[in-house]
């Protein structure tokens, strides 16, 4: 029963917060602050999905701020991309090309980082959710551009390999506020997995280039 009263008190506090925010209704900034406070009150950690995931880094902050209106101002976008490019850790062995077959598997699975999954379980890249890649897979999404024939049209050279590695590692380094996850920066994919995805796009034998 005590517990029950406590909860009600907590809810009442939440209401007070909402009402307080209401005084400054015109300010979008206040609504944002209230939204964050409300989420922190009402969300809870579950499994690996801990509450601190609500805390935004610079990229998330900037991209949320301009989400409704569209693009970041040019100067800010440049600045953000440069800062993000500096976060990319390239492979120490200087080799960017992994195994395209492993890359295809990574592209097919969207597992990882969810509260109902083991934190130790290997994540996927879920590339097909958003991109067309190999021709045989017709079940692909359209959130990102088609990557079919990527290597064939863009070239297979080392510079291209390095660029693709960095793009998968941290897409914010090239396109501020891209919808694509920062697979390396956030540790979703390992170095080897990113190499495998690079191979899926840039190995001449990969079905993407057939």
């Amino acid at each position: 029963m005590n517990n029950h009263k406590l909860r009600i008190a907590a809810l009442a506090a939440g209401t007070a917060l909402v009402v307080a925010g209401c005084a400054a209704l015109t300010s979008s900034h206040d609504a944002e602050r209230d939204a964050v406070a409300l989420m922190k009150k009402d969300f809870h950690s579950r499994g690996q999905a801990t509450l601190d995931r609500l805390d935004q880094d610079e990229v998330q902050k900037a991209c949320t701020r301009y989400a409704e209106t569209g693009k970041l101002p040019e100067g800010e976008a440049q600045h953000l991309q440069q800062a993000q490019l500096a976060t990319v850790k390239y492979p120490a062995d200087g080799d960017y090309l992994g195994d395209w077959k492993a890359g295809e598997k990574i592209a097919q699975t969207g597992k990882g980082k969810q509260w109902n999954e083991k934190p130790t379980a290997k994540a996927g890249g879920n590339c097909y959710a958003c991109h067309q890649l190999a021709k045989h897979e017709l079940s692909y999404g359209t959130i990102g551009p088609s990557l079919y024939h990527f290597g064939r049209t863009r070239g297979y050279g080392v510079d291209m390999q390095k660029y693709v590695y960095a793009k998968v590692y941290n897409p914010q380094a090239f396109t501020a506020c891209s919808s694509m996850p920062r697979f390396g920066y956030h540790g979703i994919l390992t170095e080897q997995q990113i190499k495998d995805v690079v191979a899926l796009l840039l190995d001449p034998k990969s079905p993407v280039n057939q």
Partner: protein, 155 residues
């Protein structure tokens, strides 16, 4: 029903007898302890299923109609309407060849009831689906393939 029913009739039960008892007000419908042909529901092949149901060598018949989508978006629910123009149809069974056990359901059609059934079954994968009809002492069947797509789109 079929072989199970025959056994039951030799014993104490049998749906026909139960029906009469129910008609006489001796039984509420819930009290009817019907037979369940365990043997038929654990067979893997069409031939074994027919045998377990008391038949043999069914004849293909286009007087049996299977109405269903050719492709199921989800195998958990696949709708079927089975109807029979075979004279004196007494029962209609639905079988899914690639399911772990082939027999899905068996409907006894008493006189006065249309040889027409609409129901929904699970399909583990793309498979031939068979409608089996008993008429008199003979068995007839028709079949069609139904494709099943994967359970999830993404992920």
């Amino acid at each position: 029903m079929h072989s199970g029913r025959r056994k039951a009739l030799q014993g104490a039960g049998g749906l026909a007898v139960m029906g009469l008892m129910a008609a006489a007000g001796l039984l509420r419908p819930t009290a009817a302890r019907a037979e369940w042909n365990k043997e038929a529901f654990t067979t893997k092949s069409f031939a074994d299923a027919v045998k377990a149901m008391g038949g043999s060598q069914p004849t293909e018949s286009h007087d049996i109609l299977i109405n269903s989508p050719d492709i199921a978006e989800n195998g958990a629910v696949v709708p079927f309407t089975i109807s029979s123009k075979v004279p004196n149809t007494q029962s209609i069974a639905l079988l899914v060849e690639k399911n772990p056990n082939i027999l899905a359901a068996d409907f006894e059609i008493p006189q006065g009831t249309e040889p027409w059934i609409n129901t929904r079954v699970k399909m583990g994968q793309t498979s031939r689906v068979i409608a089996l009809v008993k008429a008199g002492d003979k068995y007839y069947y028709n079949a069609k393939e139904v494709k099943v797509t994967l359970g999830g789109c993404g992920g």
